[in-house]
Amino acid sequence: MKTITVSFLLNGKKTSVTSLPNRTLLDVLREDLGLTGAKDACGGEGECGACTVIMNGNPVNSCMIFIGQIEGTQITTIEGLMEKGEFHRLQKSFVEAGAVQCGFCTPGAILTAKTLLDNNPHPTDHEIREGLSGNLCRCTGYNKMIDAIHLAEQGGLDD
């Protein structure tokens, strides 16, 4: 098995990694790049969304993507969500609404919520439930996450 070298834009920075091809984006983020915000909760089966990152504007499960598949893509992880030292409005709203408990699903849920709001600035409850359905959470029952997303889309967060 030969290693491959893959180039992509990671959190806005040109990045190049060399890896065996049977490793996933999640493996490379966590093990090679030290970005441990993406979590493995379901064992790499795409069933929980804890490893969600944004790839070319879409939320994807990084556990289901072999590293070769990200050649030429733009990847945003939770570590890249803050801009100029400022929290993203969803990071603020998740804290404000009490949507964070154990926090293991939080990075994935926030990134999914970001793509949702990017495509649909004022989603209904139903659209939020649909959009978040790939991100399992055992702590919150999702209510406060939905509140947090509304809080972010409606503005009105304290700075």
Partner: protein, 751 residues
Amino acid sequence: MTDRFLTVGKSLHRKDAWDKTTGKALYTADIPIENLRVGMIVRSPHHYARILDIDKKQSLEIPGVLAVLMSDDIPGDKVFGPLIPDQPSLARDVVRHLGEPVVLIIAETKRAAQEAANQIQVSYEPLGAVFDPVQAAREDAPQLHQDGNVITALNIKDGDIEKGFQDADHILDDTYTLPRIHPGYMEPETSLAVWGEDQTITVWVSSQHPFTDQRFIAAALDLPVENVRVKSGVIGGAFGGKEDSSLSILAALGAWAIKGAVRLVNTRRESFIAHPKRHPAQIHYKLGAMSDGTFTALKAEVHMDTGAYASYGPAVAAILTETLAGAYRIPNVQVESFVVYTNSPLSGAMRGFGSPQSHFAVESMVDSMAEEIGMDPVQIRRANILKVGEKMFTGVTLNETANALPICLDKAQEIMDRFRAVEVSPGKKAGVGMALAAQSMGLGANVPDDSTHRLEWAPDGKVLIHLGAPDLGQGLAMAVEQITAEALGLPYSQVESLPLDTLDRPNGNVTCASRMTYMAGNALIDASEKLIQDLLAHAGEILEVPAKMLVYKEGQIIKEDGKKLPVVEFLGRLAEKSITLTSESTFSFPYPEETTPQGLPIGMPHVLYCFGAQVARVEVDPDLGTVEVTHFAAIHDVGKVISQSGVEGQIEGGVATGLGYALYETMLRKDDQWVDSFTEYLLPTSKDLPTHYESIILEIPEASGPYGAKGIGEIPLVPTAPAVANAVKNAVGVRVKKLPITPERVLGFID
């Protein structure tokens, strides 16, 4: 009343939330360590088998493999267990469940570890397995352990059972069956162990009981306890499931063997087959009532499947048994409960600890009885709820917080009326149901139930809480910070709780049993008082006045002349003299001898109860049998809200877990394999939960609680499943007695 509190009762930001929203929070699997080695566990492919031989030669020859460890390689205790030391860290001679650890491999890379795992030669002689606890309890069943399969046999009686049924005008008799379910924490079990110099080891764990981990590790490695340092990583949920050792012994064994650093992380599949679950149970339930609805007798027989090893089985049986009469006055009771070994995956602690099982039986049965007699479900409950000062069948007298019960029923009635008025979707049948719940707090009488915590007033004025128990993600840290801030009259921002480290923290005991806010809160209020006294004493010396002439208020010391001096000034002066203000306090769960019934088995009874009621509105598709919970309300007495958002979060999350128990979750066995992934084991998603949801929080102060608070960790999922089952019955007339309530069961295709 609201003015009384500065911090308690407010909705504040959790201090750990920022790191969790930015990916900075380090869970045990995230902690970076130099020269980290990979651990991999070779597990049993059989449900029950004799190990004939383990050949590790080939594995050891693989480049990068550092150690291949078996039971014989464990220098100290080879078995462990929270109640009964019956569980081998690595199997020896025999494997008793699929997925039991047999060999531990330590390698430089995942690849080498995997290759070594593939090369391990273990020969087994499969044995006939038993999975059903009723069958396993029989003498002719395969016997898994030396003393037989029945670990616990409880027989609790009150009154005269024969007479009770003679007095009954109506007698109903049913069997309720509860599935095996996964606690469902998102973070799988993990531990990270680093061998240090001087025969010491540091282990990061995702655990509810780091001090127990410390003891187990020391015993397994034959080290003095003080040579083992256990630290808590950020914990990604526990829900009871991390009261069992989450790989800490094996990670430590690996690190000890290679004198290096080893991390073990369970895959979700390993988590499913090898880590304890909620006990499956069969509950045979017979209830007698007079025609006015008064309950006269209860006879129940319970079989609980605890799997291959005991875990917390006997203790779960205690609460399951004690709560079988729910919140009701039943004068004549006989309950027999059996905890049985089987070749199933282990069952242990999970949120509710037996009480979700018992409540499914009692609350389903109460509705059936109401229907039998022709009473309204709320009315029959009203006729039977325990009043303040009355005794449960265990002899426990309910205190004044039982006043919550009639209020819960009043609220439930209002909500049911409201939910009944909701328009039904085309083609659907709607139903509304409710259930009541009583959930115990605490570990039970006659077992150690103490909790110690410490405060430190740092020179900069910040108060540090050396919390003796881990925050599992539920927000314990926020709750105790609010309590401490309140007790010291300081802003919330000035109080900070530190993560657990057995090196220098007091032992706060296990975070479990709906009691840690209560235990730690009480200890910290007392510690705050001591801290203030200590401060005043030192301040008196500095000011050269008697301490009793000084008053402490909200971060200031007030002199007799009314002059206010900020505390930091004194802290600075003390720091110059190398004096740090600290205080420590232990709170012991109260089991006053005069009111605690004696003579019951150890760990019984539980004497303090939380109360709640829940109401579900469902829409059932009568052709497909599918059930949608459209509306849901949870009414809970919390004594006193410490953290508003924390309490709401506990209730909302608990209800979601309860709805999973009601409708989706079950760890089935099919074709000799257990369901072992989230593909087939279905947790509720955001699309599966009711779109109309309300929490009604009652505050009936608990005299022994911090500011009147009691627990809320477990009860929110206790009445959920029976409330849904009762709503389904109300909608389509089908009484589902086995969870989960699947379309097949609603249509009567199975069971």
